[in-house]
Amino acid sequence: MTDSSWTGSCPLGVTSQNKIITLAHGEGGLLSRQLIGDVILPGLGEAALRSQDDAAVIDLPRNRLHFSTDSYVVTPMFFPGGDIGSLAINGTVNDLLVSGANPQWMTLSFIIEEGLPFEILTEILASVSRTAQQAGVKIATGDTKVVPRGAADGLYINTTGVGVPFDSPQPDPHNLHSCDQLIVTGPIGQHGIAILSAREELAFDPPPQSDCQSLQDPVHKLIQAGVTIRAMRDATRGGLAAILHEWAASSAKTLTIDEKNIPIARQTRSVCELLGLDPLFSACEGTMLVAVPKEEAEKTIQVLRESDISKEATIIGEVHPAKSAPVTIRRLLGIEQPIDEPLGSQFPRIC
């Protein structure tokens, strides 16, 4: 990110009465420089890696790196439990963590719709800064584009993260063995329900909270404890069901979970019941699925429960040799049924 030392005021600039972002802020001239120098870099604070040029220079500690990118287009930008800024950092940080790497540097690119109030951008930058510092990552470089009104929905963010691999075997769902235990680190489905409730202005009281958070602490604790992590994934889009299907496909095994053991917050369950949605298909943003050998399952639970973020870690199922259905659930009466792979978004039922 180009750091500008220019701090003077301008009648059309950020410090003027003009409080919204205009197309001119994306045209590369004075206003662009002001936007970066006066708003974005100060907004990021300590989270930004200061550099003077078009490219950031980083020193590599290893000859192998993990690299992950994601774009964030969430509506609404602010939701109970987080915002697009914290989501953009945590989302990419978590992707790196569950791939078996410690996130170190990130890029941060904004696509801003003309007319976005500076106030909102500043608030999101503060959230980005706070979240990045908590996760221990530096914003190494970034970009800002402004598009005409109607061409985007307020603000989109892309983050790309680089992480340094941990000194332990990489988690890989191809490695799943029969009898491996499946563990979730907390209640499932909260982010999806929080976003739906906020977007559709559903008047739940209190409003459902997203679980948007970094998985830094639980992942580091697992690595430090030397747990054999066969596979590890944060259950984002498509929820727990999507990850189970991906792992079943990679490993050519059947994954079976027990309905009675799946942690679901009371409110998530109530909202899902009311709207006819299945929490298994609802997104999480700070809850992950971990597969470990059976003999290490209890230890894993103990280690995870030492972290505030995963204090409700629970064994929810296990890996079996392949059956005709790749993912199954044991219902309350003991009957085993297949779980479908998520098909687009869920639609609420009529009555």
Binding site: S324, A325, R331, L333, I335, Q337, F347, R349, I350, C351
Partner: protein, 371 residues
């Protein structure tokens, strides 16, 4: 009592299963009317657990499934009009009409939005006076009061850019049609608890009298369903036919007075075609003449008002009337899956085919029966 745990208590459910099994001296055939009940029965595995003593036939109570394809087609056509937004419940979007679904139409150029309540559609009309907001009103007596309220509110707000495409249906006339059919095998009914919260259950007394079949007003949790089944089985074994409310925590004899009053103010009972069924006398609701300015069909006469259903290999009509089980349809799980549905029951979260696909698929074996 905590609804989401106590009414799903496995121990209580097993106790009820045992009582039902002990009561049965032969295999009985019962219809659960509502699609929500079908899903709950299959999800919890009750139908399989009782398969040796009770055959559960899945009724037509899936509001999305019984909406005729031509209504969807008309909604699609309206969504293509300039400055027009068609709104409906999310569950409706994937249901195939004669030529694709509302979702397909949205991907082309149809202006369609899922709403959670008809009142959301009124709010949209208020916010966007430049466009006509049409609500595709589907569902049983459960959703009709909200549609009626939306019409009343639009009138109060003097909105002239709000209208409804009315396809509401009434459940009891359909039960009568099924019970009087020559092919009927159903010996007792689990009436739809949610519908009865609105309508009450007085009007079922005439049905029981006429057809001499037990009717249990039944809820949707596993133990609710088992209590309803136990009631019907007990009556059948004793050769009785009575009307019993097995869902008293939600259903009162007279139903919801205000909701019934609002519906009476806005709707008339009319004959209505149901998908896969003939025209059912008194099987639907239409706007009273004084509210005709909110009737989208009158407001925007459709150039291509399609009334004919297109025949396909899909046998959803027979599924909806309980003539066949979803798995007996030749298209089930082959040409027809939730990804490529041929009929509405494969799409809806209350459709019987979707329930079979979702909860049965192909792993089910006898060893999985509850113990």
């Amino acid at each position: 009592m905590k609804y989401l745990s106590d009414y799903r208590d496995p121990q209580h459910a097993r106790h009820l299963l045992d009582r039902i099994r002990k009561q049965c001296t032969r295999r009985w055939t019962i219809m659960e009317v509502c699609g929500g009940q079908t899903h709950a029965l299959l999800r919890s595995g009750i139908d399989e657990a009782l398969s040796d003593c009770v055959e559960l036939i899945h009724g037509p109570g899936c509001p999305v499934c019984v909406t005729p394809a031509c209504v969807i087609q008309n909604a699609i056509q309206l969504s293509m009009r300039p400055q027009t937004l068609v709104t409906t419940f999310g569950d409706m979007l994937r249901v195939p009409g004669n030529r694709g679904s509302l979702l397909d139409s949205q991907a082309e150029r149809g202006n369609i939005k899922a709403v959670y309540s008809p009142m959301d559609a009124v709010r949209l009309a208020q916010r966007h006076p430049e466009q006509e907001v049409i609500f595709l009103a589907v569902g049983f007596e459960t959703t009709a009061p909200a549609t009626a309220l939306a019409v009343l509110q639009a009138a109060q707000l003097k909105l002239d850019n709000f209208s409804i495409l009315c396809s509401h249906v009434c459940v009891l006339p359909a039960m009568k049609l099924l019970a009087s059919s020559k092919q009927n095998r159903v010996q007792g009914f689990l009436a739809a608890g949610h519908v009865c919260t609105l309508t009450g259950f007085d009007e079922y007394a005439g049905f029981v009298e006429q057809f001499q079949m037990p009717v249990a007003v039944t809820g949707f949790e596993p133990t609710d369903l088992l209590v309803g089944i136990l009631e019907v089985i007990t009556q059948l074994e004793q050769e009785q036919a009575a009307l019993v409310n097995c869902y008293p925590r939600a259903v009162k004899r007279k139903g919801n007075h205000s909701a019934r009053q609002i519906c009476g103010q806005v709707f008339d009972v009319t004959d209505r075609q149901w998908r896969g069924m003939p025209i059912i006398p008194g099987g639907g609701l239409c706007l009273k003449p004084e509210w005709s300015s909110y009737d989208a069909e009158l407001k925007f006469p459709l150039s291509d008002n399609i009334q004919q259903e297109i025949q396909t290999v899909c046998r959803s009509g027979e599924v909806l009337t309980g003539m066949i089980k979803p798995s007996e349809c030749p298209a089930f799980g082959l040409q027809c899956t939730p990804q490529t549905p041929l009929g509405a029951p494969m799409v809806s979260s209350e459709g019987a085919c979707a329930a079979y696909y979702r909860y049965r698929n192909n792993i089910f074996t006898k060893q999985n029966k509850p113990v």
